[in-house]
């Protein structure tokens, strides 16, 4: 379930990264994708003019459409993030008016959509490896990778225990009044943590047994090519244009 929230919707753990396979985006160097998308996200966060915020959202939608990531997957992932976006937008709407509220929705949606396309169009390990090669401290990237692995471990345990529970006729816990059901669910959560902890220990020992020294290293180092340059240039130019127009409006 936690994995599902990471990616914004419910999918089986083994299906993660599958969207990265079919997209041209996956062939780009992870560093180029990270730099391009993060520049765009920072620029979008600085926009205040409604027209420009909507233009940024349109660029994000165009990026999503060109990415070859299945729209259905992106829509589901976006729906997972929507409650958070709506809470932020609603609070701005109530205190600063409708226009600001729409700006907030469009701005956060634009950023979230671009980041979802980045995450869906890049294998997770490549993403963390790219961050490391952009000189993000090793302790952070390694923690991200281990967290990712252990989230999958927990998701597997949870899935197994859910099947075991259902196989023995359990269908409760759907109502807050079902105290027995809720008690059983709390036992399940406890067991998931205990089992995951044991498994996480074994996984860490397996890493240590193969020379792991707190830093994940990829087998091959990729290079930034011409297509990566085009990708960065496209985002950098779009972001610069939006910011220049914003400054023009403000001036």
């Amino acid at each position: 379930m936690l994995v599902a929230h990471v990616r914004g919707h419910r999918i089986r753990a083994e299906e993660l990264d599958e969207y990265a396979r079919g997209s041209w985006l996956v062939r780009l160097d992870a560093r180029a994708k990270l730099v391009g998308v993060l520049v765009f996200v920072v620029a979008t966060a600085l926009l205040t003019e409604t027209r420009l915020v909507l233009a940024s959202l349109a660029l994000s939608v165009a990026f999503a459409a060109m990415s070859q990531v299945p729209p259905r997957h992106l829509a589901k992932a976006y729906l997972g993030a929507l409650p958070f976006i709506l809470v932020a937008s609603a609070s701005v709407f109530l205190f600063a008016g409708a226009e600001r509220g729409v700006d907030m929705w469009a701005r956060t949606s634009s950023c979230v959509l671009a980041l979802l396309v980045l995450a869906s169009g890049t294998e997770t390990f490549d993403l963390f490896s790219g961050l490391r090669r952009l000189h993000v401290p090793a302790i952070m990237t390694t923690l991200l990778m281990l967290t990712y692995k252990f989230v999958l471990v927990m998701a597997d345990e949870m899935a197994r225990m859910t099947v075991a529970r259902r196989a023995r006729g359990f269908g409760g816990g759907r109502s807050l009044l079902d105290r027995r059901g809720l008690r059983l669910l709390s036992y399940t959560a406890g067991m998931v943590f205990v089992r995951s902890s044991d498994r996480a220990d074994r996984t860490y020992e397996a890493l240590k047994a193969r020379g792991f020294d707190k830093e994940m290293r990829p087998m091959r180092a990729t290079r930034v090519g011409a297509l990566d340059g085009v990708f960065i240039a496209w985002f950098a130019t779009s972001s610069a244009l939006l910011l220049v127009m914003q400054l023009g409006v403000a001036g």
Binding site: D17, E123, T124, K149, D156, R202, K208, R210, R217
Partner: protein, 285 residues
Amino acid sequence: MKTVEVSGLSYSYEDGTVALKDVSISVEDGEKVAVVGPNGAGKSTLLHLLAGFRMPFTGTVAVAGVRLDEGTGDQVRRNIGLLFQDPDDQIFMPTVEEDVAFGPVNLGMDDVQGRVERALRSVGIEHLAKRRPHRLSYGMKKRVAIAGVLAMDPRVLLLDEPTSGLDPRSRAELVTVLRGIKRTMVIATHDLDAAAEVVDRAVVLNTSVAWQGSMAELVSAKDVLEGAGLEPPQTAKLFRRMAGMGYDVQTVPVTMDQAAAEFAAVIEREAGRRRDGPKGTGGGR
């Protein structure tokens, strides 16, 4: 030359349960040894301890001449390839080849690509190099895990229940793979059929060492097998049954090759007895 030397080893879990008591074992360079025993006998604990993952302990442990203590764990592990019982604990990277390369890359070894290719070839899965490990069958995952260990070129392989959870065909294929690996090997298992096909010697462990000897001797030691809750190999059971029926069984085979040879010899002896006369044709049949 002894590659693994364990002397007077004792270890207790945090809750005080004694896992190993006064264990002494040595393994010669290139020798394949099975550590057999029932569930909870301490087999896995012994392997994890040899790899420096269980501290503190009393007694001495040395692998490839390096004595294990709090400060030498990494050094000892450089000489060890540990295969975990569940390959999902071990496989970490997004593709098979990247996972196999994980150890060599971490250890800064040269010719990583070559090592990966050789390791994959040695376990017969070179065609799976680009595949995602979590999509593979359990048997194939085991092979990926073994390749990941072999790519590090360790002096000693420690294999924890390598045949557990495998279907008969995968198990037979894995046994063939393990037979083909020319390296010092310690296999923790209760699968005597598989162990007999691979190892030279067996150590019966039940918290402490209950018995040591060849597989053939172990199969003949009924009281040891019963005491350790072990089942003899199917071939041994068959030939014991044949001996009980009056056939002239002279050795109890433990491997398929030995069984085939002994079976041919029994047929020949039976034919000879029939030629020589009606006496002694085995009244129990």
